[in-house]
Symmetry: C2
Subunit: 216 residues, 2 copies
């Protein structure tokens, strides 16, 4: 949902988009198939799917066999880093995007990080994104040439309801997206993990129907 909305915003901004999906051994692999369908629907011509085997590093319920927490309260989401945290995941994603930006000569990286209705991951916060932009200035050929890559996180200060409304206004079909951390084998969302709860809250507050609702 967040990445899809972010893509729509990049297109609205007039960007010629190169899309990057990371296949990191996530249990919610259905999001990779969703990404393929989404970029096709949005007319993105260049889509890279990079494989990184984070199971070798471990440490997360999203790449291992630990249980994905269900029915966490919103207070808990605000106060604890959950076991679904993939250590340094956004640093990894942004590093891959930075390499790709160097190769395709992109001036900006869009990332759907959000720090409002979120699970409390440290690497979704504005200070992290600013630190990565500083890294990009000194660590790349583009930066050395004086035209560093910008990091744009247009969702960072938006609520999930605002994200849903923004994407809908830009024509995103959320039926092509998947947010669940623990979907069934056929990709159906569990309805109870943090991601499902935050998504439901967003659609509900926006007064919208989620076209990819969990089964009842």
């Amino acid at each position: 949902m967040d990445s899809a909305t972010c893509l729509a915003i990049a297109q609205r901004d007039g960007c010629e988009v190169t899309a990057l999906t990371v296949d990191y051994g996530q249990r919610h692999r259905v999001e990779i198939a969703c990404a393929r369908a989404l970029v096709r629907a949005r007319g993105v011509l260049d889509h890279r799917v990079v494989r990184v085997d984070l199971r070798e590093i471990g440490g997360s319920a999203l790449t291992g066999t630990a249980e994905v927490p269900k029915d966490r309260s919103s207070a808990a989401m605000g106060n604890e880093i959950p076991v679904t945290y993939v250590p340094a995941r956004n640093a990894l994603f942004l590093s891959l995007a930075l390499g790709l930006a160097e190769v395709v000569d992109a001036g900006a990286i869009y990332i759907g990080a959000t720090a409002v209705d979120y699970s409390g991951y440290p690497d979704c916060r504005p200070e992290f994104l600013a630190a990565f932009e500083a890294l990009a200035r000194v660590g790349t050929a583009r930066g050395i040439r004086g035209s560093p890559v910008e990091i744009r996180a247009p969702l960072v200060a938006l609520s999930k309801a605002e994200i849903a409304r923004t994407g809908a206004a830009l024509g995103i079909d959320y039926g092509l997206t998947s947010s669940c951390y623990d979907p069934s084998v056929d990709g159906a969302p569990c309805g109870r993990c943090d991601a499902c709860q935050l998504r439901r809250k967003g659609f509900s507050e926006a007064g919208m129907i989620d076209p990819a609702q969990p089964r009842t």
Copy 2:
């Protein structure tokens, strides 16, 4: 050679080492076998080899089919970023190391980056390493808890000769290491790429014999 020396320094510093090797589709894959032999010889009990398919991103002679430059002058090495530059490679390596540091609860990451006898890559410079350390402070659970991971680059200001002497004094068997960007199928170094030239210069200036010399 640099990673091996860096490992010896970490051990000298009293660290209990978790070793990380990245299999990123490099044409000099022999370095992965070397890393396995080296960590065994040094008594490192935990060695992770993480696969990342950077060929999907491309943009480097080290992951593609472009020719590795041979016989570059040292003036050229100081002034141009060569085609062997893998875009944002050290950001990627350090991001993976940062994730691993979170998982094994490591207080420091050692990286064998050097900015003296080197190919002119932007992501080997001290300002890049400092920017990554700043990123680690804000982007990890450890950082949030107030015990951020340090980035240590003990070779960054050393010449290749100083690196060779330091490693030898710490018992590194450089016969177990490989530096060449374009080895033959059996792993023999080419003797002419930047890495071979810098290595030869280092051993020569140190008055040492390289146990892994190219064939004559």
